[in-house]
Amino acid sequence: MSATTELVATLTELPALGDHVSTVDVSSDGALVAAGDLDGNAAVIDLGSGEVVAHLVRHELGVSAVSFSPRGSVLAVGGQDGRVRLWDAEAHRPIGDPVVGRGWVGGLAWRPDGSEIAAAIGTAVVRLRPDGAESVRHTDHPTTVDCLDWTPDGRRLAVGAYGGIWWYEDAAQPVKRFEWKGALLDLAVAPSGKWVASGNQDASVHCWRLWSAEDLEMTGYPAKVQHIAWDPTSRYLAVASLGDLTVWDFSGKGPRGSRPVQLAGHARHVVGLAWSPNGDVLASAAADGRVSVWRPRRGGRSLLADLQVGEELSCLVWSPDGSFLVAGGAWGGLHRVDLR
């Protein structure tokens, strides 16, 4: 990591939605932003003009996830009505019919090569190809699926629910299961493919080594852990619980017995946590209205940039090139934060 230098953050307001922004994403070329709110609206904004270019079909009771395909221009939108729709993000036309499930959409995750998207709908996970065709459906989970992620090579899909992690390849049945008594709220496979970590309802973080399933647990967080993030080198795992931010170091013998770096954190609960694509910095957004950018250092000043947006925040995403962030707000605002 290079020496700490201050970053300059500038704020640009994008067109607002009508209600609490539950999800936001930026397209792979950095040209479009998609966002959804809890009133059920989803919109696509062109960052060149700063205008809304499409209002998508409403999802009653709220939109829960939007996600652009890693390459190409397919946008997936899921809602609390249990529906997932794929859209041609440039032509703003739906691709095929929506998939309808029982329960709500708990998460969307594109396979790294873009050949499929996994959608958690209620207790099931449905996998769709970019043309809208269903490839496989996993229905083994006893409770609503809250989180899912792919291994970096795209070979396996991790599905987190109450009771642990279910691992899938291309068949409907799981190939492996990491059992754990508790509810997983967030799940992240390390980019190295060596670890999987979960943030949990019981205020802990659990890590398993792939594929020995040797595990370790970090406890003592002030509340449930809803956001965790690996840096691209898989050396650091950032964890948010309420306003606290900690970073664990997995180098050498790993974090067992060590203490994490504690960042100054936020005055209210963190709503978004993500490393920049090159792994240089960590960004957080919180209900205190701040977007903060950190370079975690033990004992030193870690905060590089800090911006008060003027609204309680609700979600955060990096642009794929790492030049800007977009934060969603609890009152519908969409805030672009450019960094240099």
Binding site: E60, D81, W180, Q201, S204, K224
Partner: protein, 331 residues
């Protein structure tokens, strides 16, 4: 205005009761009554529908037990998810109703309001209302369960703050008196309300603040009159009323020990204490091992500073509870 703040929590009423007791009729009554409140209903059997000023959300009753195996950490995962989202919407509700399935144990629902900080910061558990069918309650209470299996009808009564004795038109006075006696023998502090076709004055079940610490034991529980021993049942209420100031450290030790060893068996617990050296009442209440307590208003001039505690639970030893509490009183 004093007392108003951005952190005002939205009250939540939990409605339990067996299938056929009249829960759904009660819900419909609440939804169609002219109360001017915007209500959200979370229930298990319906689809998602909007009824004028209400929103009805289907829930899946997902019980989460945490890794440490502690019963008090058993919560309703689906409620955490649904309530969390409901409270984020700009469209706010004045009141939330949660209907449980007929055979549900009310504990995980109640515990959700103690354990999850997101839920706790925005919502307050107002009351647990148990609806019973006057004609069939006794049969349900006497239903023999295999060893180790809880009688859900008993459990639902034990947790209740309000018991709606419904369908009173289907029983005669003697039968009704027996139903009341049986309810009282399990839960001595709940308020009993009679109804036909679940028609009830909504002020008696909504916004009653039964979990509000300052209202703990506001009404005189009738448990002190209860001298009759109930050898035939394991779930009972034990009330303790005792004068004298208590040593707060001793009470803490005792309650800590009690909940640690018998927390699984203690469904509800409430109390008002006269703490030595404090001019204020200390009020507390708990569900299983979860416990909430704080100093409340000052004792008034001339008010008897009497300690009053109520335990509702399984296999409670009245003598032992009374003796242990007496040991905390500073003579």
């Amino acid at each position: 205005v004093a007392g108003m703040s951005a952190t005002t929590r939205v009250p939540v009423t939990v409605i339990t009761g067996f299938l056929g007791s009249g829960k759904t009729t009660l819900l419909n009554h609440v939804l169609t009554a002219q109360h001017g409140k915007r209500i959200a209903v979370i229930e298990n059997e319906f689809g998602e529908i909007g009824i004028d000023d209400a929103l009805v959300i289907d829930a899946q009753e997902e019980i989460f037990e945490m890794n440490n195996g502690c019963i008090c950490c058993t919560v309703r995962g689906d409620l955490i998810r649904i309530l969390g989202n409901l409270m984020k919407r700009r469209d706010r509700f004045d009141h939330i109703l949660i209907e449980t399935t007929g055979l549900a144990d009310p504990a995980p629902v109640a515990q959700t309001f103690f354990v999850d900080d997101e839920v706790r910061s925005q919502l307050s558990l107002d009351a647990i209302v148990t609806v019973v069918d006057a004609k069939h309650l006794i049969a349900h209470l006497d239903d023999d369960k295999p060893e180790g299996v809880e009688n859900e009808a008993v459990e639902q009564l034990a947790f209740a703050d309000r018991v709606l004795i419904n369908k009173v038109d289907l029983v005669d006075a003697a039968e009704l008196a027996e139903v009341e006696r049986r309810v009282r023998s399990i839960n001595a502090t709940a308020e009993l309300i009679h109804s036909e076709r679940s028609r009830v004055d909504l002020d008696r079940i909504l916004g009653v603040g039964a979990f509000d610490l300052s209202r703990v034991l506001e009404t005189d529980p009738t448990f002190l009159d209860e001298t009759e021993h109930q050898h035939d049942q394991s779930v009972t209420s034990v009330g303790i009323e005792m004068d004298g100031a208590v040593d707060v450290a001793k009470v803490n030790d005792w309650l800590g020990w009690l909940l640690g060893t018998k927390g699984t068996d203690i469904f509800r617990m409430k109390g008002v204490l006269n703490v030595q050296g404090d001019t204020r009442r200390f009020v507390f209440q708990g569900v299983h091992m979860l416990f909430d307590g704080e100093p409340d208003r000052a004792w008034e001039e001339g008010e008897a500073r009497t300690n009053r505690l109520v335990f509702i639970g399984r296999d409670l030893d009245r003598q032992e509870l009374t003796d242990r509490f007496a040991a905390c009183v500073v003579r």
